[in-house]
């Protein structure tokens, strides 16, 4: 998993902010952002604590995407780094 440790926010291909929506739009917005990317590209998703961070990572995993890292921003939000899976 050495490559994961080296994955940096600055290296992400795109970013999405889903802190302005609630379930189930959180998942939809993240999914739409991932659809813009090519397979293998990474997306950083900013989400709120609580329900979004409990459920959005799992929902993206179940869609087959690769979750790389979850980091706390210290302001009640989290950044989830995801690598897009092939279809």
């Amino acid at each position: 998993m050495a490559d994961l440790a080296e994955t940096d926010e600055a290296m992400t291909d795109a970013a999405a902010d889903i802190t302005d929506v609630v379930c189930p739009v959180t998942f939809v917005k993240a999914k739409v952002a991932l659809e813009e990317l090519e397979e293998g590209q990474t997306l950083s998703i900013r989400m709120n604590d609580g329900e979004p961070v409990q459920n959005v990572p799992r929902a993206l995993k179940e869609e087959g995407h690769q979750l790389l890292k979850l980091s706390e921003n210290g302001d009640g939000t989290y950044n989830l780094l995801v690598r897009k899976a092939g279809v």
Partner: protein, 287 residues
């Protein structure tokens, strides 16, 4: 059928209606599952012998109301030929309910339908001092409301952390709602006393670093009719159906032995004593 034997009709799933000589025909449904073919048969019977509507019961059953007394035998035959079984009422094991479980639902920890079918196969219709309800729910979300049942079954995971697969990404720490997980620089620590077996860590982990072993959490003595009481957990999580059935056998035996006629399981346990009940369940659990 000149003289109606209401008790026999009731045990055979015919519920007397307000309207004289009319019955609501209760069907046997396991875990709320009917095939399209069965639904077509039910539709036909309802139109031919009923008034063209069915009632979906509170426990995933189906009743066909407005069957006339003289048609009961014909209805029985036509249902049977169409692959639809007749339900029961009265002092016996009732419809076994279930959610869709892990076969369909992403949240499910156990495959509920085969278990509900096995429970139904073993106990459905068995005579007891009073009605007895089983319900199977696949996970902690408890869509099927396990604790409303005389014997509720709830799916859960016994979890184990796989150090080598873990990247310490932290997803499980947030997925856990019980505060059972903490992270150090080198490990994820589990507080087993706080773990409720929900399996959210397993489901959310991107790296399969949590292994979840499916199991069953039983609750006893739930009732939601005249008396309202939540089923109580008396045993640790059960890992195999053999143990589950050993315990369920013992629970029904306890009910048979200690209940007065027309007394619900809950009341019988209350009177005989929960300590006594729990020790008998523990004995069955350990085999």
């Amino acid at each position: 059928m000149a003289e109606a034997d209401y008790k026999a009709l009731k045990s055979g799933g015919f519920m007397r209606q307000v309207q004289k000589n009319h019955f609501s025909m209760r069907l046997k449904v396991i875990g709320g599952r009917l095939t399209a073919e069965q639904l077509a048969v039910i539709t036909k019977i309802s139109q031919k012998y009923g008034d063209g509507h069915v009632h979906l019961t509170s426990r995933q059953g189906v009743e066909i109301p407005f069957i006339q007394l003289e048609d009961i035998d014909a209805v029985k035959v036509e249902l049977q030929e169409g692959g639809v079984a007749i339900g029961v009422c009265g002092p016996r094991v009732r419809t076994v309910t279930a959610c869709q479980g892990s076969a369909v639902c992403p949240s499910g920890c156990v495959d509920t339908y085969p278990l509900a079918a096995a429970i139904s196969e073993r106990y459905f219709g068995r005579q007891l001092p009073h009605k007895f309800k089983f319900g199977v729910t696949g996970c902690m979300n408890n869509c099927l409301k396990a604790e409303e049942n005389d014997l509720g079954v709830k799916g859960g995971y016994t979890i184990e952390w796989k150090k080598d697969a873990c990247t310490l990404c932290g997803v499980c720490l947030k997925a856990c709602r019980e505060g059972a997980l903490t992270r150090t620089d080198t490990a994820i620590l589990l507080d087993a006393d706080k773990c409720n077996h929900c399996g959210r860590c397993v489901k959310s982990c991107p790296f399969d670093a949590w292994h979840g072993e499916p199991g069953y959490i039983l609750s006893f003595g739930g009732t939601f009719g005249n008396l309202i009481a939540k089923g109580e957990q008396a045993l640790p999580i059960i890992r195999d159906t053999e143990t589950l059935f050993r315990v369920a056998d013992a629970a029904l035996k306890f009910f048979d032995e200690y209940a007065n006629p027309s007394e619900r399981f809950r009341v019988a346990i209350n009177r005989a004593g929960w300590d006594k009940f729990k020790s008998e369940m523990e004995a069955a659990y350990h085999g």
